[in-house]
Symmetry: D2
Subunit: 469 residues, 4 copies
């Protein structure tokens, strides 16, 4: 929901489980815990060793599966996916896992990330006679695997992955094997857990906690893991590189209770608030955070600054998709549904308002206005991450450069645009300090959208052409 306000959208979460009687049902719970990573559609493909069985639909995980018969998703193996789709791609065909059937055996794919050379690869494949039913870049990988040999194996998958440039976390299922792969820079998160004897794979560790599984280890950059009844084996399809985990996972995207690349999200956000308070203190009466993602940073800022932390903005828990939108006339009266200021708290006060990031600035302006209208004397905006000035090619759907406020205005300009009394961003060094706990742990981050330092490049890459995930 807030995702829509902000203009940053995570693209997808993947989940897989091997070796549990309740595989499909546990996948459902795992997907549910990663609902924040994609709200447009969800799907599960299970395997009983003989056949792959799909179930998918548009909407939230609950809506998709409320009429599902899990008996029809039998088997001890399952793969699931939640999807956020960019505009224009909101069709059921694109909902994953994609399922490809062949007389030699079927294959299901679940993907989080973006293939940067998908357009070029697809053109080549079409030249060779391939036809496509989705606008998803994930379908390209399926064709590449198929063209690498009639069998779906470690070898054909590695071949296909080596043709692909981008950021990706894949789970590939055939009747009797599951393959797990992460891009050579490890830009997208992907972890391995165990639930008894069963193996579990998920984009976020909150899915492990959800089902009672325990975290085992990270999937490594460039690693290709094979899981079967013989157990788990690992190989590399690419040279090991310095990991470049997406910084936005820490700043905004992941759930506070997840550990991303061994770092707890809430804790890292709180440290961002602490660093921000050190770098950009403020003479004010209280600290408030924009719910939900900025609460942790606001608590950190309050703790470091010694200012009281207050609940100055409320998020309505009952706002959903079916909500009847107020007419223009009523909006002007002040009818607002998602966020409300707490007049009794902010009236007459000087406020430090912590937000995790600013994309277009429209939401920030609205919140500052809302606070002032509720009586706030001053509003000092503090952003718990560096300013976003560059597009992401690695699977996050952000606004185009033209829309990014920080790409078009100076700090003073931004402050004026959003109507704040002052504004400051966390520095890149501050961000890194907040995230990286242990240099020996390969905890490097990708800050391309803030710094323009792109770890992976593709010649001529201009924009996301395909629906990525």
């Amino acid at each position: 929901m807030l995702a829509e306000i902000k203009g940053i959208n995570e693209e997808c979460g993947v989940f897989g489980i091997w070796g549990h009687e309740k595989a499909a049902e546990l996948t459902y719970y795992g997907l549910h815990s990663m609902q924040h990573r994609g709200q447009e559609g969800a799907g599960i493909v299970s395997s009983d060793g003989v056949e792959l069985k799909p179930y998918k639909g548009m909407g939230l995980v609950n809506d998709v599966f409320k009429h599902a018969d899990f008996d029809e998703l039998s088997g001890k193996v399952a793969v699931g996916h939640v999807r956020y789709s960019t505009q224009g791609g909101k069709v059921i065909e694109n909902v994953q896992p994609l399922l490809f059937r062949a007389q030699a055996g079927s294959m299901a794919l679940a993907h989080n990330g973006n293939i940067m050379n998908a357009h070029k690869l697809r053109g080549e494949l079409e030249e060779e006679g391939s036809i496509f039913q989705t606008s998803s870049d994930t379908e390209v990988l399926a064709h590449l695997i198929k063209r690498s040999g009639n069998e779906i194996s470690e070898k054909t998958i590695a071949n296909a992955l080596n043709k692909v440039v981008g950021a990706y976390a894949y789970i590939i299922l055939k009747e009797d094997k599951m393959f797990v792969a992460l891009d050579p820079s490890g830009i997208r998160p992907l972890s391995i857990g165990k639930l008894g004897e069963a193996y579990v794979v998920a984009s976020e560790t909150c899915a492990f906690d959800q089902i009672g599984a325990t975290f085992e280890r990270e999937v490594l950059p460039g690693e290709l893991i094979t899981i079967s009844d013989e157990g788990l084996s690992s190989t590399r399809f690419a040279m090991r590189e310095q990991r470049k985990m997406c910084a936005m996972e820490y700043v905004y995207l992941s759930r506070p209770d997840s550990d991303v690349n061994l770092v707890n999200i809430h804790a890292s956000r709180k440290r961002m608030g602490i660093e921000l308070a050190k770098e950009a203190p403020s003479d004010a009466d209280m600290v408030i955070g924009v719910p939900d993602s900025s609460i942790s940073a606001a608590i950190g800022y309050a703790e470091q600054s010694g200012l009281p932390y207050e609940m100055g903005i409320i998020k309505n828990r009952y706002v959903g998709r079916t909500f009847i939108q107020p007419s223009q006339e009523l909006r002007e009266l002040g009818v607002k549904m998602k966020l409300s200021p707490v007049r009794g708290i902010v009236e007459g006060k000087r406020i430090v308002m912590i937000d995790d990031s600013i994309v277009r600035g429209t939401t920030s302006r609205r919140i500052v206005q809302m606070l002032k209208k509720a009586g706030a004397k001053e509003v000092h905006v503090r952003i718990a991450s560096p300013s976003i000035q560059h597009p992401c090619y690695y699977g996050i759907d952000m606004s185009t450069r033209k829309e990014l406020i920080a790409a078009n205005y100076t700090l003073e300009g931004i402050c004026e645009q959003i109507g704040a009394d002052s504004i400051a961003y966390l520095s890149e060094a501050g961000l890194e300090k907040a995230i990286v706990k242990d240099k020996t742990l390969n905890q490097g981050i990708c800050t391309a959208c803030m710094t323009g330092k792109y770890p992976v490049k593709e010649d001529g890459q201009k924009e996301i052409v395909f629906t990525s995930c």
Copy 2:
């Protein structure tokens, strides 16, 4: 609904329109009039000359489109499809029109019929690196077209059709052209109509009446028609053969108000009843028909025999999909939902019961029992078509040979099985006399399921492997 009782299931209806502002909406009404040809799913793909836009879903036409926004199906061209799917294929992926996207241009396919060599062709295509997302034989044709050249044209389509063996009526849409094709024996129905300047194509002419269009002509066996803004042009991809229109279209499948290959369905059914009365008269008090498909034949039988026609069985108009099925206990009490005997009519009477056909015989037995329980003194069953003893390979989903009562019992055996006092079938000659009005009109029929005379053969064809349509 009754379709389920009987065990004969039409597989699909197709509809296309070129050159009307309300193309998608008219397609909706056309599909609605052909709802009896397929109840599992429905879809429309429209074109505005630049882009193909799909909308499809599971269920009845009304259910699928009740939330559709026809503004999103803009354009003056549209293709639609209603689908009956055989067991195991009830997934949204198989709902047509199938849509294939390519950088060179997209293609939508709507199909009624069955490709007999689909399994073999698919195996070959997979060997060459093709991947499949549906279990529909229609996807095979798309690959064949694509493999015949990167362009979708008369030439590549004709090439592809020449590799295919079976019974089929196709509508193929690209952004700026519509192609219409019928198999060389013309086994499946397909007609051309006009609505003002717009061209209309449909499996049944009732779709023309529905939208106020007028019938122009039949699509000819082996004909490939191209419709574009330049008008309609025709070519042949196969030699002209004697037409072999599916006899079951007349006996059971089509709507009474349709003209199939220039013959009105109600009139032909009434003539079947007349012929049947001549061939197999009966000493009885009244004639009744099994609703809805046998009413016409019953009226003909009554007229010829001089016996009164009575409404001895009522069909409940409110039985739908959401109906709560009675428990076993209640079924034993006689709770029945679809058909009810009219006790006040049948009590103490000798009845001629007309049915259009018998497949497994279970429904006939149930109806005979029902009539006797309501007091009928005698029930003489008269079937207005020859007995069904052979499987259909041309797109009709009938029971397997093992289940066909006429393939396993003598006439006396059948009579005993269903508990009738006497039984008789219409002869093949009688059927032909009832259907073919004018020998010069190429009105030949396929009676393979009754006579075993298959007009089209494929070596080693044993059963329907793919989901046909």
Copy 3:
């Protein structure tokens, strides 16, 4: 559905069962078979001897009960109701059975008919301090019973019924007794059946056939029946009068398989057609009937006249409530959903078109036009009942006098209005001959809407003020 076309609307059907383990479920099936008597809402109240448990909702029986948990409607006793509501009263509150709770015991009421003095009675009750939650005249009876003494008994019910003037069939349920009452003229139908040891009560006998029950007898005019675990006992709250069963039940309202007051509906309709052929023959090529209610009369007319009966109009079986209505533009193109002419049958032919009745004449005009547009040379309209010229005060929702075509035009005028080549109605004597089989059976009919002879009168009665049922 057709009900809406015609402008005659049955108001409600009632069902009750005493002494069966599956009482509520059987009530569901009984209501389903009487769906044609009311489509706006449905409800069931069951009793386990201790407590009355209600379930009701707006819409068709299937829609209302598809999510019902019949375990929550436990008990061996149940009462049910289907309702048609007049404009303005489409609210859930009015859906019956109405349930009134009191510390001394609860009471449920199901009603078919109309209380003519409801407005006056309600005014008096309000003066005395009663408050009302529905706009249903049924609530008035509940208050009258309550005011007749704190107990719900034969005596208080008889007292209340004696204050009420109108046409009514009531089922009243308390925890341990069921009461059944019919108005002194027996204008509305109500029958008693048995299912094993259980007693069944229903507006139409088709409900008995539906659940496997057998017909026992009619409820008599002015009879009050009490059913309990001690069995069935009967008393009279009013003097026995000549029965005046609503003639429209035979002409249009009841199901063809029901016996109303011992007369089968289909058979009586066929006799209406026979009498009509005798009274008003026609020089034509064929006879057709307007589906569904006029088919029986058309068959009778054909049989008597010797003309062939043909299926010249088809009714679409898939038209439902969710249907997307064609835009004005499309309607002008001829898009029509419910009835279609069969061009192949009617083209170039002189047609006798049988209809059961004409109310406003708009539907008749549309059908005649439709037939002529499909090529009919002549259309001779024959109506299988006398013309409707007077309002009904006994529970049938017909158009007002101003709208009744026969109240405003001569026969010639009507013929011209509807565009027919000739028109004739059945005579009152012909109707009576068709319905009354046996004068000794008290089979008198109410023809007030045709003849203005009202069997029950209330001073100053002008129009239906309350929502009747």
Copy 4:
């Protein structure tokens, strides 16, 4: 949602607006902001000065109104209600506003609270001939008003209110007047606001903020307000008493952004946390709160104690009603949907866990276990209100005395039951200090459920017999 976990359920919220073009729509938004006060059903009755128009349904406000046509709720006046219903009363009849129709004029009632002598009053009314259609105590008041004179006026309402004993906030609507009444002790909250010239009434002030209205004043204990086109006038139906606002509104029920009796909820909760830290400090590493209602108190405790406030428990934002519940087997695996511990935060730490209250103790035990399983070294439970030991007769649905853990165990016993390392409650004095800001403002509170000091008594009152609101 959490309401169900806790076992305390607010019973209803009321909203009214007089004099705005968009009355019904604004009522919808107002009800939406008070969704937390009742999730079982919602309704609106509007008036256009001539007629009262109702719309209501079961479920959340969004679900009830998503298909509503607000044009049918026309008029410048509206009353709305959200309802929580106690077990057994989950029927649409009980959803408010209740609407009573009479020839002299209609009346709608919306009620929050509980009538303690409803059972007795209803018995008396039934003796006098009244009949009831709901099990709601609100219907009793309607009868009392009606019995006080045929007119709905200040006088008849005051008469009726004087017969009633309990806690209540009423809005009563007739075609041309709105009446607002609060019980003599002012136990339930009710405020007056203005939106331009329009008057607004609501249970919580968050509804004013929602629609852009401004707070005017509290409705006073024993006050009866009349609003009409002539404006607002006030009278008293009872002597002014010391106000006894329900303390649980502050502790748990109201939204943090509401001001209840001039006191902001978040601020009062934070002060409860501060007082609790003073009264019951704890040697620990961090403070965490149980979301959502205990967050404010946790922040206060942290601020006062100097311990860091951490997000140790996450509440899943996507848990809704349609959620598929995990099977027993999966629950044992640890599949939990609503609350999740943040392992990365709590592992190895000594935790102060703040909760607002304990009812049965089962939830507290589960949360303590969850934290320990996630690695917490110690869990010190601190409750930000005095222990609940007595039932509420004023409209809050709490567990019975038998189930209240504090009524059955000593402090040590409770600590052991929930598995905490220590436990402490806020004192009554601490609670009062946190809530009452200004003694001159009549800010007295009802602490009956904690102290047994009942401000309003009814002889023989034992339990809630009727469905209260």
